[in-house]
Amino acid sequence: MSIFDIFTNQLLNGIVLGSFYALVALGYTMVFGVVKLLNFAHGELYMVGGFAGFLVLSFLAPYLGPGWLGVAVSMVLAMIAVGFLGVVIERVAYAPMLSAPRLSILITALAVSLVLQNGMLTLTKGQYVPFGAALGFGGIKLGNLFISYNQMILVGVAAVLMLALELFVSRTQYGRAMRAVSVDKDMARLMGINVNAVIGITFFVGSALAAAAGSMAGAYYGSLWYFMGFLIGLKAFTAAVIGGIGSIPGAMLGGLILGLLESFGTQLPGVGSEWKDVFSFSVLILVLVFKPTGLLGKPEQERM
């Protein structure tokens, strides 16, 4: 393979990986924007989304088949289910804590994530679970570059979801309310915005996006594991920080950048694939040292 082929291949890999990161990073950044909380459980919602998609697909496969139609319907149902799970988590665990010291909220979020993770560990006995989708192996060839239909559909769906989110936030009344709450919660309440409803919607949308990424990842990679949310949660956070935490376009950009950095980074001499994760966490630490507000973020004051 020539240098050019390696380049185009890694570009494609980076875009696919980046789409997953971006979808998960969006939830992080939205929740952070509205309630100033780092939702540690977010990576686990991606994992639960994968398993929810698997569960729905195993019921629907006899009727819709294990192809993209079945996967798409399962993905939508998983998004709705996990969206509600996100709202329940917010109501039960976070809402009573929002006025507590920051440390207590962080530990509560960690506890929620451990409950989800170990709950799934108990259910699956720690085994890998095959997703059960059959998506075929077709694709198109551009020179030496093979792009599978699956990759195209995956990136396309991710792009459509992000576009829909952008329109939702910038054009609808709920989106405007969300932006108002993220600027000043108390002032938004005085203007007649139902802040609790806005927080609920934010958790719903963020969790649903993570579930979409989880189901697609399950269908694309073929198997699920109770621990799969841990690493992507960390990566998505890194992506959100690169783009500027709290900024929606920043999360999309950050996800893509991190995906590309990882796929090109593993090609560097001395950075084999076994160092991939070290590479991304080092990027995170460097970004926090030199540009903590990220590419598109605004400088912010520590909450008192």
């Binding site: 076994e274 070290v278 520590e302």
Partner: protein
């Protein structure tokens, strides 16, 4: 006039319960005797478990300084534990260094690691520290897995047990008493720190960072000090852990390890030394008692942690009673 809340005591409610020196000396004597005879009561398997519990007491006391005293969430504490264990493992195996020379080196490296990770992130929102420490914990584990010097995924074996003035610390019983001494020293250092000028600064920073800064406390320095003291505790624990087992592998230093130490700190009651000790014993002894539950026991811990945070955020150990 408004009643000012009393300064929380590192002893939790114990200080009011044991209010005379006589009672305190009696309590200390009972604890020391219990520690001395415990191995003969619980047998050889019990001694190994108790040694492990004492290691956790030491680690949890260290993390307590970061989380309980300074109010910072560290999700990668196992990294310092790993730095201590691997420094001792590598220097004694590959360079033939004496354990007692490797120990200060391990502490030094943990301090450097603490500064490298802490100095940039402690300036930022305190939430960032949680995620960066999580990433740092993974970096250390993956590095240990991938390097030749650290023995890769299978780790290091054949680490020598140390000599102390002609005493070869070798049997499980020897190590039990070594960890007893370490835990006692850890408690004394924690209490002394809590009552020091630095301890009061941590209390201020935890309660109100801005007010503390206005009173002339350099919050970044003070937080960094807590982070470094925690790192020292972790590396000492790791060094003796390596000497005790004689073998270490990367999976001993995973995220789960960090979470278990954090649970020990929070379950018992962060900031309170008896609470942290209780927490460490719960974390180590509960799996022995819940053996039949298998995978469920981690879920039980996780649910317990969530319930504690929602209903009793100050932990199981009772706070100092108000009437005094």
């Amino acid at each position: 006039m408004a009643q000012f809340p009393e300064r929380p005591s590192a002893w939790g409610g114990l200080a009011t319960l044991l209010d005379t020196p006589q009672k305190r000396y009696a309590a200390i004597a009972v604890i020391l005797v219990a520690m001395a005879v415990a191995p003969y009561v619980f047998g050889s398997y019990g001694t190994v478990i108790l040694t492990n519990a004492l290691l956790y007491v030491l680690l949890a006391l260290g993390l307590n300084i970061v989380v309980g005293y300074a109010g910072l969430l560290d999700l990668g504490f196992a990294a310092f534990f790993a730095v201590g264990a691997y420094t001792v493992g590598i220097t004694t195996l590959h360079f033939g260094l004496n354990f007692w020379l490797a120990l200060p080196l391990a502490i030094l490296l943990a301090i450097i690691a603490g500064i490298v990770i802490g100095a940039p992130t402690l300036r930022l929102r305190s939430d960032y520290l949680a995620i960066v420490t999580l990433g740092f914990g993974e970096i250390v584990r993956i590095t240990a897995r991938n390097l030749r010097e650290t023995g890769g995924a299978s780790g290091l074996i054949g680490i020598d047990s140390p000599w102390l003035f002609g005493w070869h610390i070798r049997t499980p019983l020897d190590f039990y008493y070594v960890f007893c001494v370490l835990a006692i020293l850890g408690v004394i250092a924690s209490v002394r720190l809590a009552n020091s000028r630095l301890g009061r600064a941590w209390l201020y920073v935890r309660h109100d960072e801005d007010a503390a800064e206005a009173m002339g406390i350099n919050r970044v320095k003070v937080k960094l000090a807590a982070y470094i003291v925690g790192a020292i505790y972790g590396s000492i624990g790791g060094a003796f852990f390596a000497a005790n087992l004689g073998a270490i592998s990367p999976e001993s230093f995973s995220f789960r390890q960090s979470v278990l130490i954090l649970m020990a700190v929070i379950l018992g009651g962060m900031g309170k030394i008896p609470g942290v000790i209780l927490g460490a014993f719960i974390v180590i002894l509960a799996p022995e008692l819940l053996r039949d539950f298998g995978d469920l026991r981690l879920l039980i811990f996780a649910v317990g942690l969530l319930l504690i945070m929602l209903f009793r955020p100050s932990g199981i150990w009772p706070a100092r009673s108000k009437s005094r």
